[in-house]
């Protein structure tokens, strides 16, 4: 008893404050532990079991991971995810940076324009995906129609395995652009005016000011935006689920299946909880690895003012 009392604090007041502190954090900490901490721990355990509708969990060691390594559908999903990432991240980062740079000037209707670019961010991915599915409708969709002018008729975007990732990438970019733009705008605000003035005095032109002032000063933001965009790309699910719902969910022959979709399908389409948990663990480890690798790279190329100040 005295040990507990001493652990809480030296004086009665300190002990009382400690008890208050514990009581205040308890609801959220217990809730987080029960609803998120336990599942995280269970995820590791489940990935080592074979567990489906037919039989209860049975320990199988690393068998699920061996199966994963030889599972063509898994590699296809991983490949699709990486392809989507390569389509979405560079384009998204470049476009949002471009819009932020243009909006960072004294243009008319600046606030209104910013609002418009941000609108898709507040809509649900589900609604966005539904609307874009209809836009990509081969004959009566808005885009299908526009393309007909160029002689491209009846392109079946969502059933053709070679094209299906394009509509998914387009929705993702459209919905994310405003979010990244706001981060870039915030980053641009932090660049001191004097740097531009000094560069101008040194005879730097517009392009040189952008290349040697804006870009390096903005690199922490570019880094942040890229990491968030990559992590976001690894989690693409809603778009796939919705946009391929009418044709063949997950794309014809799995051509639109992403890691997250394959994980969902394993657990809730084929009811293989153990196997799905192994996919989940891979997804988690990839995201973790991306974060760690980026954190290391950051030291090399990101310019932080404090390091030089």
């Amino acid at each position: 008893m005295t040990m507990i009392r001493n652990a809480l604090g030296e004086t009665p007041l300190a002990r009382r404050r400690a008890l208050w502190g514990l009581a205040l954090v308890a609801p959220n900490i217990l809730g987080l532990f029960f609803f998120f901490g336990v599942p995280v721990l269970a995820a590791f355990a489940t990935s080592l079991t074979e567990w489906n509708v037919l039989k209860p969990a049975e320990f199988v060691g690393l068998a699920n991971f061996v199966r994963l390594a030889n599972d063509a559908r898994f590699w296809q999903a991983l490949g699709n995810t990486v392809r989507l990432l390569l389509m979405v991240v560079p384009t998204g980062v470049a476009l949002s940076l471009g819009v932020a740079l243009l909006l960072n000037q004294r243009v008319p209707f600046r606030t209104l324009l910013r609002t418009v670019y941000f609108l898709p961010v507040v809509t649900s991915t589900v609604a966005a995906s539904v609307v874009w599915t209809w836009i990509f409708q081969p004959r009566y969709g808005l885009l299908g129609n526009a393309l007909a002018i160029f002689g491209l008729r009846d392109v079946n975007w969502l059933t053709r395995p070679d094209l299906v990732l394009i509509p998914i990438a387009v929705v993702t970019i459209w919905q994310r652009l405003g979010f990244d733009m706001v981060l870039f705008l915030a980053g641009l605000q932090t660049i001191p005016r004097e740097l531009y003035e000094a560069a101008t005095i040194d005879g730097a032109n517009r392009w040189q000011r952008f290349r040697f002032v804006t870009l390096p000063m903005l690199s922490p933001t570019t880094f942040l935006v890229s990491v968030l965009a990559i992590i976001n790309a690894f989690q693409i699910f809603d778009q796939v689920y919705i946009m391929t719902a009418r044709t063949s969910r997950g794309g014809v022959g799995g051509s639109a299946s992403t890691l997250a979709y394959y994980l969902y399908d394993s657990a809730f389409g084929r009811f293989e909880y153990g196997y799905a948990s192994a996919v989940a663990l891979v997804l988690f480890l990839i995201i973790l690895a991306v974060t760690v690798v980026q954190l290391r790279l950051q030291r090399r190329w990101v310019y932080y003012e404090s390091e030089h100040g």
Binding site: V25, L102, Q105, V121, A260
Partner: protein
């Protein structure tokens, strides 16, 4: 005379120099407007389709303004065919309000505890909570489902609301905000005999207004637009939320697009309205969520 000439010369120079500047801005503006049109077009197309009669869906060339506007008819047909679209919207509302109020309570208490009190295990607990931020929800969706099944919560409102009442992100965000509150003000209240809950309620929370608003806006939006979690946790006519309702419409090949677009419009409208009203906090919320990692 000389002076005047000089001034005229200056003005001429400034004007000449500002030509590329102004034309640069004009070009920027035009590019921005063109981009904005592309950003808005899907919304226009959604509303336009939502108001077209089925007979006009498959007509070429595409028209934005329907020949026979039938917004109300489509609304009625949507309610008639999908059974409970109103119910889905209401459910989404309940879930959103429940989660937001829940997080507001649990996370502000915890954030205050972490910000102002010393207790054994404080740093470990806080670090573990932050660690949860690294775990994407998809990585634990299977276990979340199994847990809810185990405790008999599948297809209940408890499943939709209770797990969403706790958040590591909100804890982190609110703690940052509370640390900005001048501690002298809290001490003054303590000397006046206020207990920690009273201090939190009367001093700390009112002084953290903008952060609370930004937090609320992020939470509301995330809860309203949530899809994967309700998809696995609650998918019965009584407990379906609106995103699931839209997914169902989309999955039925026979549902015409005007009804689906009407459904999407109804699901999007509350968030658009909220955004227009509380724009500042949305933008701040994004800037804050950017700090999260």
């Amino acid at each position: 005379m000389v002076e005047q000439q000089g001034r005229a010369h200056d003005a001429g120079m400034t004007w000449a120099r500002s030509i590329p500047y102004i034309s640069g801005r004009v070009i920027s503006f035009l590019i921005l407007v063109a981009g904005a049109v592309i950003m808005v077009l899907p919304f226009v197309w959604m509303v336009s389709t939502a108001c077209k009669p089925a007979s006009e869906l498959q007509r070429l060339p595409v028209r934005f303004v329907p020949e026979t506007p039938s917004c109300l008819e489509n609304l009625n047909t949507l309610y008639a065919t999908s059974g409970g679209f109103n119910r889905y919207l209401l459910n989404s509302g309940l879930v959103t309000v429940g989660r937001t109020i829940g997080q507001l309570v649990t996370c502000s208490l915890a954030a205050y505890g972490f910000a102002r009190f010393r207790f054994p295990g404080r740093n470990v607990l806080f670090a573990l909570s932050l660690g949860l931020l690294m775990v994407p929800f998809q990585a634990i969706v299977v276990q979340e489902y199994l847990l809810l099944r185990q405790i008999g919560w599948l297809n209940t409102f408890a499943a939709l609301i209770v797990p969403g009442m706790f958040s590591a992100f909100a804890l982190f965000l609110l703690r940052q905000a509370f640390l900005q509150v001048p501690i002298e003000l809290e001490e003054a209240a303590i000397i006046d005999g206020a207990n920690p809950l009273q201090v939190l309620w009367k001093v700390t929370l009112p002084l953290s207004g903008p952060a609370l608003a930004a937090f609320a806006v992020i939470t509301v939006q995330a809860a309203w637009n949530d899809f994967l979690f309700p998809l696995v946790a609650a998918n019965t006519p009584e407990t379906r939320v609106v995103t699931i309702g839209i997914a169902l419409l989309q999955g039925e090949r026979s549902t015409p697009y005007n009804l689906i677009m009407m459904g999407s419009f109804l699901a999007t409208l509350p968030m658009l309205a909220l955004f227009v009203l509380l724009q500042r906090y949305f933008i701040e919320g994004v800037a804050m969520s950017g700090l999260k990692r």
